[in-house]
Symmetry: C2
Subunit: 432 residues, 2 copies
């Protein structure tokens, strides 16, 4: 992790460049997978399970028995923790509900807006080294609150053909009963096209490796919506002399351990702080089980020293971090936070580690990475809904607004649009 | 427009299939355009203006003088109509503001959510046969309310190198001063990469032909967000015996005149109603200036007779129309409306023509077509914002929530995530 002192504005982009993602080669591998699942359905899913997960799956759908057994395999301590996290996440996402909007814009012209749950949603939970039951909470809870009628969860089986018990426990806890043993691009394909076991869905959520990401992009071309474009996870910590260096280092490392393509950025108000944090990083990283991953991620990473606060905030907004931790003295805190324009989620103060939001505080952990915080929001209740507008115009109302519409339509040379009003106005003239 | 009586559920999809869109060939034309604009900037834009718009453009940016002159060329009547529409659209979109959310999910754990305007947005307004000043209102007004810092408007010049005065008048009315004379895929390319005259933006909005649509899709690959996937416009009218056939016909035609690839669907509760509407369509279409376009669109269109209301509603939700007009007897109206799950915008009753929402009632006219009403909302204030979450945890708070995070992180095998909490809890133990 190199230290850059006061780099010129023109260098920000190149110095803080994120690891490049190659998508073309991956697409070439994923396209035939999508095609096979479309044509062969479950048969293809079982074939891919054998090929990629090295397991022969009889029933793709997880049975009630498997779910019941799973509960016995999750420690009481972990069950309690998951339930606590669920309570917090539910509170914060329930509070995101949008009230119906109804107003008369002119006399007799009533406009409305209602929020309706997307009918069928698919949640992808990756397998791999860790069982991401936290992501089951982050996606399943808002899907429930939104009133999605069908929630499908796809996740890859292990070599014994099982799903990690903590994932089954969590899914069951929030009432998801359609859990399918399928991972990778083939899971996304199944939710896109539908198979005998997997219903097709309207929107696909969830993280995944490059194959899953590529498959989600292809799903978009087939009319399925996705949560957001994906990229490796990242954190930016903005620290001044009030930050505790060992805390900052622990936050940088909790991002670095995610993967070798993760990026962590420290923006420090002085070289002294940057040096002290670096020392702590070097000490703490050695103790980590995933230290080899973290060290590789640190190679993509940089500490930037920017004494000027305005300039530091500009750099942060330019970079648009997925996670932003702000540890500045209390007098400045509110002002600095209020000037953040581009970030996925913001963690304020010395006692707010990113992992709080990753797991249990209540905010969602599915966030825009790779600079997409400029133009995308993280997953929220909104992600599982769409908003439909309505209008009802009375006889009086069309008489009020009709002439305006007629003139505008005429000037846009859309005669039939005008006629739709004129015919009504004439009818009212004749029948009054 | 053929009449189908009570088609089986299995036939809905094929009978109501939308006109196919070919994107591959278009992409081949658009890619080199994007590349040239990226490399040559304004020079490429001027070259394309010569090639496609048959005009030599000196200054791509519309001058203050041009805007001042435009105002003199717009009739007072049209000015008044545009101002009235603006008032209504502003009212309805201002009411869409989301209040900040702040809550303590546990003692000492404060979670927040704020709405922040996307910094730089680009609005594309097509040229062609009609000057779509209404779209300037529909995109520019919410962009303003959202607090977008930079709003760029691109629209193609005519053969004299001018922009239609009504477009300039409307843009000026809502305070957009960066109006660029550039159309087609090259406009989207300019807003994606930026040129000397056109700033790059974070999100691109607006309708357009197939080239514009293809360019927007390519822009997405470059990290720019877009409003929604595009498709030809469509309306579905659901009419029972209480509907006035001439009104229904006028609404069907006001959609059919949009383009030869538009689709209009009538769902009628009886064959008699369908027949009477068809008669009216055949009479009214002959009087239209755009009758050739409308007739071609009617070839893609179908009247479906479904006496059973439940089944009719199922068909509507399956089709997911961009515009849905509901003309049923008043006793059923509320119930029918409440059961609509998939639609862009809903128009209720005999005196609510679609053109009201297209122009002036207050709702937005940029809506999901082509079945995307299943998984996308229309453009609203939300489209111009992103929601950022925040959290601040106190010393007491991390002591409350810390153990939950530690257990979850440990079970996801993310040790550094756990450490970020442990190091803080230990610090507090030592310093208390």
């Amino acid at each position: 992790m190199k230290i850059l002192v006061n780099p010129a504005r023109g260098e920000w982009k190149s110095e803080l460049a994120r690891p490049v993602q190659k998508s073309k080669d991956i697409e070439k591998i994923v396209k035939p997978i999508m095609r096979k699942v479309k044509r062969q359905g479950d048969k293809a899913l079982k074939k891919f399970a054998l090929e990629y997960d090295h397991v022969s799956i009889k029933n793709l759908l997880v049975s009630r028995e498997e779910i019941a057994t799973a509960k016995l395999l999750v420690s009481e301590e972990l069950q309690k923790a998951i339930i606590q996290a669920k309570v917090n996440i539910e509170k914060f996402h329930e509070a995101q509900q949008t009230p119906d909007l109804i107003m008369e814009t002119m006399e007799g012209v009533t406009c409305m807006r209602k929020t309706v749950g997307i009918q069928k949603v698919g949640l992808y939970i990756p397998g791999g080294t860790a069982p991401l039951f936290s992501t089951v909470l982050m996606l399943g809870i808002p899907a429930n609150i939104a009133g999605c009628e069908e929630i499908v969860l796809c996740t890859p089986p292990n070599k014994e053909g099982n799903i990690h018990p903590a994932i089954l426990f969590t899914a069951d806890l929030i009432g998801i009963d359609k859990i399918i043993k399928v991972g990778g691009a083939q899971a996304v394909a199944a939710m896109t096209y539908g198979t005998e076991s997997v219903p097709s869905v309207d929107k696909i959520f969830g993280p995944g490796n490059q194959y899953v990401t590529a498959a989600k992009q292809l799903a978009v071309k087939k009319g399925v919506a996705i949560d957001m474009p994906a990229g490796p996870s990242e954190v930016l910590v903005y620290a001044d002399e009030s930050a505790i260096p060992s805390f900052v280092a622990s936050d940088l490392l909790s991002q670095a351990e995610h993967g070798i393509d993760s990026q962590v950025i420290l923006v420090a108000s002085s070289e002294k702080i940057a040096q002290r944090v670096m020392q702590e990083v070097n000490t703490q990283v050695e103790k980590l089980a995933r230290k080899e991953i973290a060290k590789r991620a640190l190679e993509n990473s940089v500490a930037v020293v920017i004494p000027n606060q305005d300039k530091a905030i500009d750099l942060i907004n330019d970079y648009a971090p997925e996670h932003l931790i702000i540890c500045v003295n209390e007098a400045d805190e509110e002002d600095v936070v209020s000037r953040i324009k581009n970030a996925g989620s913001v963690f304020i103060g010395n006692f707010t580690p990113e992992s709080a939001g990753d797991y249990a505080s209540g905010t969602n952990h599915t966030l825009p990475t790779y600079g997409y915080a400029r133009n995308y929001s993280g997953v929220s209740l909104d992600s599982f809904t769409k908003k439909i507008t309505y209008q009802k115009i009375s006889e009086k109302g069309i008489q009020n607004i009709g002439p305006t519409i007629e003139i505008m339509a005429e000037n846009e040379l859309l005669e039939a649009h005008k006629n739709a009003v004129t015919i009504r106005l004439n009818y009212l003239k004749e029948n009054q």
